[in-house]
C-alpha cells in the first residue's frame, strides 16, 4: 500500500515536471519568459518547426526571450495581429531576440520562412484592454497550415481562460 502510494506520488510528480514546460508561461513581471524556436517539437516528434510553448502569457512590461535553439528560425510579429500602440518586431534568423511587451493585448507572431508550414504562436499580455485587438487579430488571414494552427491556438487559449477579460 505504501509502495503504491509512493509510486503514485512519483508518477504525479513526473507528470507535473514533464507537462509544466508545455503550459503557457504565467511568469511574474520581473521574470523573463522564454520561447524556444525549434525544428522538432520536444515532446511530439511528429510536429516540426514550432515555437515552444506556442501560447505564452506575460504581464505588461515583461520581456520574452525568443531563443534560437535550432537553426533557420526567427520570430517576427504578424501584421494586424498586435495592438495598435505596440511596436512590431522582426528578429534575424538564427539569432536570439528579446522583446518587451508594454501594451496589453494579444500578439500573433511567426517564423518568417516557416509561417505557412504552421510555425506561428501567440503571446497574451495581461492588463487592461488586453482583448481590444482580439477580433482584429483573429480576423487576419493566415496562409497554409498557419490557419489550422491558429484555430487550435485560439481554442486552446480560450480553454485556458486567457481570452477572458479577467484572466489571471
Amino acid at each position: 500500500m505504501t509502495q503504491n502510494t509512493d509510486r503514485r506520488k512519483f508518477l504525479v510528480a513526473t507528470a507535473a515536471v514533464t507537462l509544466l514546460p508545455a503550459l503557457p508561461s504565467f511568469a511574474q513581471s520581473d521574470e523573463q519568459a522564454v520561447v524556444e524556436m525549434l525544428t522538432k517539437h520536444p515532446t511530439d516528434s511528429k510536429l516540426r518547426n514550432v515555437f515552444f510553448p506556442r501560447i505564452t502569457s506575460v504581464q505588461a512590461g515583461q520581456t520574452v526571450l525568443f531563443k534560437a535553439t535550432d537553426r533557420s528560425h526567427n520570430s517576427a510579429s504578424i501584421d494586424g495581429m498586435i495592438p495598435d500602440a505596440a511596436e512590431e518586431w522582426d528578429g534575424r534568423i538564427n539569432e536570439d531576440v528579446e522583446v518587451t511587451f508594454d501594451v496589453p493585448g494579444v500578439y500573433g507572431y511567426k517564423c518568417t520562412p516557416h509561417a505557412a508550414t504552421g510555425m506561428v504562436a501567440l503571446i497574451v499580455v495581461e492588463g487592461e484592454g488586453k482583448l481590444d485587438n482580439l477580433e482584429a487579430a483573429q480576423g487576419v488571414r493566415q496562409r497554409g497550415r498557419a490557419k489550422k494552427v491558429f484555430e487550435e491556438i485560439w481554442e486552446e487559449a480560450a480553454e485556458l481562460g486567457l481570452l477572458e477579460a479577467t484572466s489571471t
Binding site: S72, I93, P113, G118
Partner: protein, 258 residues
C-alpha cells in the same frame, strides 16, 4: 563455347545498359496526399528542372546567383514559388476547386535524396532548414525540388483530379502515395512521351472496392488454369476416344489417361 560467351556478354552487359538508358530517360515525380477530416495536404517532389517543365513554370521563378541557387532569398519564405508552380495546374476535389495554397518550396541536392514515403517526410523536406546557413551551393540541374500545399477543405471522401499544364517530354512515372485515416495506398501512373498528364486519385474506399472484381477474376483464372493443367489428360483422353469412335478405330491409350 563461343556462343555461350556471346550470350553471357549480352545478358551481362548489353541488357543492363539498355535498361539503364531507358531508366535514365524516364522522368519521375512523387506525389504524397494527406487526407484529414478537416484539411488536406499535397506534396510534390521531383528533379527541379522536371518540376518546372511539367508545371510549365519559367526557371526564373527560382532565385539564382552566379549559376547557383540563392538560398538567402529563401529566408523570407518560399510559398510564392510554390504558388507559381501550381498556377497553371488544376487540382479538384469532386470537380470543385481544391483551395490548395503553397506552404513552402525547397531544393535539396539530388545526390543526398531525402526520404519521401510519408507526409511527415515531405513536411520535413519542404522546410527551410540548415540549407540557409550551409556553404554548399548547387546548380538547378543538381537539385530536387519539394513543394507542399495546404487546403482547409477536407478530401477524405473525395475523388481528386490533377491536371498538369504540359505533356510528358519523356516517359514519366508519377508515384502517388495517398494517405488517409487507417493507412496509405500507393500506385504508379506511367505516362508516355507526348501524353497529357492527367490522373485521378479515387476516394479511399472506392480504390479498394474497384480492385475486388479484379482480384476475383485473377483468382478464378488461377483456379481455372490449375484445373486445366490437372485435367488436361482427362480431356485429351475423352477427345481421343470420341475421335476413335467417330472413325471406327480403337482408341489408343494415352500415357497419362485417367
Amino acid at each position: 563455347m563461343r556462343k555461350h560467351g556471346v550470350f553471357s556478354w549480352i545478358i551481362g552487359v548489353l541488357l543492363p545498359l539498355m535498361f539503364g538508358v531507358v531508366a535514365a530517360r524516364a522522368d519521375s515525380l512523387t506525389i504524397i496526399l494527406d487526407r484529414s477530416t478537416n484539411s488536406s495536404e499535397l506534396y510534390v517532389a521531383g528533379p527541379a528542372e522536371t518540376l518546372l517543365a511539367l508545371f510549365d513554370v519559367d526557371r526564373a521563378v527560382i532565385p539564382m546567383q552566379d549559376g547557383v541557387v540563392d538560398y538567402s532569398a529563401f529566408a523570407l519564405g518560399t510559398w510564392g514559388i510554390g504558388d507559381a508552380l501550381l498556377q497553371n495546374t488544376r487540382v479538384t476535389f469532386d470537380n470543385a476547386p481544391s483551395g490548395f495554397e503553397a506552404m513552402s518550396f525547397m531544393l535539396h541536392p539530388s545526390e543526398d535524396a531525402l526520404p519521401l514515403q510519408t507526409p511527415f517526410d515531405a513536411n520535413m523536406a519542404i522546410g527551410i532548414c540548415s540549407a540557409l546557413s550551409s556553404p554548399e551551393r548547387y546548380a538547378l540541374e543538381e537539385m530536387t525540388g519539394y513543394v507542399g500545399y495546404f487546403s482547409d477543405q477536407t478530401s477524405s471522401a473525395s475523388t481528386i483530379e490533377v491536371v498538369l499544364p504540359s505533356v510528358s517530354r519523356t516517359s514519366l512515372n508519377i508515384s502517388v502515395v495517398d494517405y488517409m485515416q487507417g493507412g496509405a495506398l500507393t500506385f504508379v501512373r506511367r505516362f508516355e512521351p507526348g501524353e497529357p498528364i492527367r490522373f485521378v486519385i479515387p476516394p479511399p474506399g472506392n480504390s479498394f472496392r474497384l480492385n475486388i472484381p479484379l482480384v476475383l477474376l485473377a483468382l478464378v483464372s488461377v483456379f481455372a488454369a490449375a484445373w486445366k493443367i490437372n485435367h488436361r489428360s482427362f480431356v485429351e483422353h475423352c477427345l481421343r476416344q470420341l475421335f476413335a469412335k467417330h472413325h471406327g478405330r480403337k482408341a489408343q491409350p494415352t500415357s497419362c489417361s485417367e
